[in-house]
Amino acid sequence: MSGSGWMVPVLASVVGIAIVAVIFVARAWPATPDLTPEEKAEAADAPMPPLQRRAWWGLAIGAGAFALAAYLLSTRGVMMYWEDDPFRLRVLGIFLVGLLGSVGVTNLPLVRLEALGRLDERDRAVLARAPTAQMALGLIGLAVWLVALGQKFHDAGAVPMPYLYVLFGSIILLIMIGQSVGIILGYWFGGRNAEG
C-alpha cells in the first residue's frame, strides 16, 4: 500500500483495542464500598507493598525504554536499524536496558522478598494473575503488527527482515511490561480474594 494509507487500519485497530480495553476495565471495576473518612485515611496511610512499588519501577523502566526505542525507530525509519550500525547498537542497548531493568527491579528481588517474609497471600495472588496481562499485551502487540505489516507490505508481497527483529524485540518488551501492568492492576482492583 503506497504512501501513508497503511496507517489508517493500524490506527483503527489501535483505537478499537483501546475501546475494548476501556470497556473491560469499566466492567471489571470493583464496587468500592462507602468508606468513612477514617477508613479512607487508613487506606491512604497504609504503605505500598514492596511488590507493588517494584512493579511501578519495572513499568517506568520498561515503558520508558519502549517509548524511546519506538520514537527513534519511527523518526529514523526501521530500515536504518539494519543499515546504520551505531543506530542499531543504540536501539539494542535501549531494548536491553528496558528488558534487564524491568526484570532486575521486579523479578529478581522476589526470592529475597519471599525469604524475608515480605510477600503475603494477597501479593502471591496478584503475582499469580499477572500473566493474564502479559498475554493480553503480547497478543495486542502481535495484532497491531499483523495489521501494520499486512497493510504496509501487501503490494511488495514480503516483509523486510529488519521489521521482524523490531517485531520480536517489541513483543518481548511488551510481555515484560505486561507483568508490571498485571501486578499494578491486581493491586488497583484490590486483589478481590485469595483464591482467584
Binding site: A43, P49, D120, E121, G190, N193, A194
Partner: protein
C-alpha cells in the same frame, strides 16, 4: 451462581483487644497492613489459612470473626 461476599468483625475485635493496631495484627498473622485495611473494608476475601490465623489472634473461631453473605439467601449466621 449468586454473588457471595464475606464480611468480618476484625475492626471491632481489634478495638476490643486493647485497640490493637492494624500493623500489630498484620505482623501477628503474617500479612501486610494493606491487606488488613482491605479486609476491614470488605474489599478482600482471605484464604482459609489467613482467616484461621486472624481468628486465632483474637482467640475466636472463624465463624465468630467472618460471616458469609449471599445475595439470594441474605446474611448467614457467622
Amino acid at each position: 451462581m449468586p454473588k457471595a461476599e464475606i464480611s468480618n468483625d476484625i475492626r471491632r475485635l481489634r478495638f476490643e483487644h486493647d485497640e490493637m493496631t492494624q500493623q500489630a495484627l498484620a505482623d501477628q498473622v503474617g500479612c501486610s497492613r494493606q491487606t488488613i485495611v482491605l479486609l476491614e473494608q470488605g474489599r478482600y476475601a482471605p484464604s482459609l489459612a489467613l482467616a484461621f490465623r486472624i481468628a486465632r489472634a483474637f482467640g475466636r473461631t472463624v465463624d465468630e470473626v467472618f460471616s458469609f453473605e449471599n445475595e439470594q439467601d441474605g446474611p448467614a449466621d457467622g
